[in-house]
């Protein structure tokens, strides 16, 4: 077997480093795509912080099933309720996760599910209220093993 010289080792290392730096931008949906999705949901309106809570583990060992809980502070009456909550993941191959559609019958605006996370990333939840206002929250989840097949 041919011995690898010091010079070659350095070149290999540099090439691997460059590949690692650029790979995320090729393989994964960019943050911009996630932002575009949120802008589409709000119709370009600004979403304010607060009223909405997103519960997720800080570190997910297995990215293929990460628990997620979202709740919005609302009386859920016919005149004042949460219409929809969108969940967006800015580091998945496709940023859309799910949209929860609530009604005044829901009683409380709370829902839980389990989702896939390809890598460490931010999860954004945006709520649309019946009065046309929007509230959002963001949370980072660190992922040990990604969960998008492959």
């Amino acid at each position: 077997m041919k011995e690898v010289t010091r010079r070659e080792t350095l070149a290999l290392g540099a090439a691997a480093g460059a590949a690692a730096m650029f790979a995320p931008y090729v393989a994964w949906a960019a943050v911009e795509e996630a932002n575009a999705l949120i802008a589409k949901f709000t119709g370009g309106k600004a979403a304010t912080d607060g009223k909405i809570t997103l519960q997720m583990p800080e570190i997910a060992e297995n990215g293929s099933t990460v628990p997620l809980s979202v709740s919005v502070d609302s009386p859920m009456t016919k005149d004042n309720y949460v219409k929809r909550v969108i969940i967006v993941a800015d580091g998945n191959p496709r940023p859309e996760v799910a949209t929860f559609n609530f009604t005044p019958r829901s009683g409380v605006a709370e829902a839980s599910t389990r989702m896939r996370l390809a890598k460490t990333q931010n999860i954004v939840a945006v709520a649309e209220m019946s009065d046309g206002s929007f509230h959002m929250t963001k949370r980072q989840v660190k992922v040990t093993i990604g969960g998008c097949g492959g």
Binding site: S64, T65, V66, S69, M76, A89, N92, P93, R94, E96, V97, A98, T99, F100, N101, F102, T103, R105, S106, G107, V108, E110, A111, S112, T113, R114, M115, R116, L117, G147, C148, G149, G150
Partner: protein
Amino acid sequence: MAKKPKPRVKVPKTAAKGDVVNIKTLISHKMETGLRKDKKTGKPVPRHIINKFIVKFDGEDVFSVDIDPAISANPYFQFSMKADKSGEFEFVWIDDKGESFSKKSKLTVN
């Protein structure tokens, strides 16, 4: 898919008027994302997921979810409903091939 998706729900049978009841649902489904490649042929595996989950109570909308491939296999949902009358829940899951799976459950409000 090898097995037919099996829907399961956990919902109380009775409730006091005005109570908010908690409902848990699960359906067995692979939730193929469409991003995975077949290891033998190298061809992408076509997307096949449950894309919609609808909950009605006596025909009235209570809760629904638009589902994207980022939801885990065997999709699980937990949510609530305010119990103000007796009636029947209807849970419906719809997949990419247009197939639907449903389950019903009665609720008595005292």
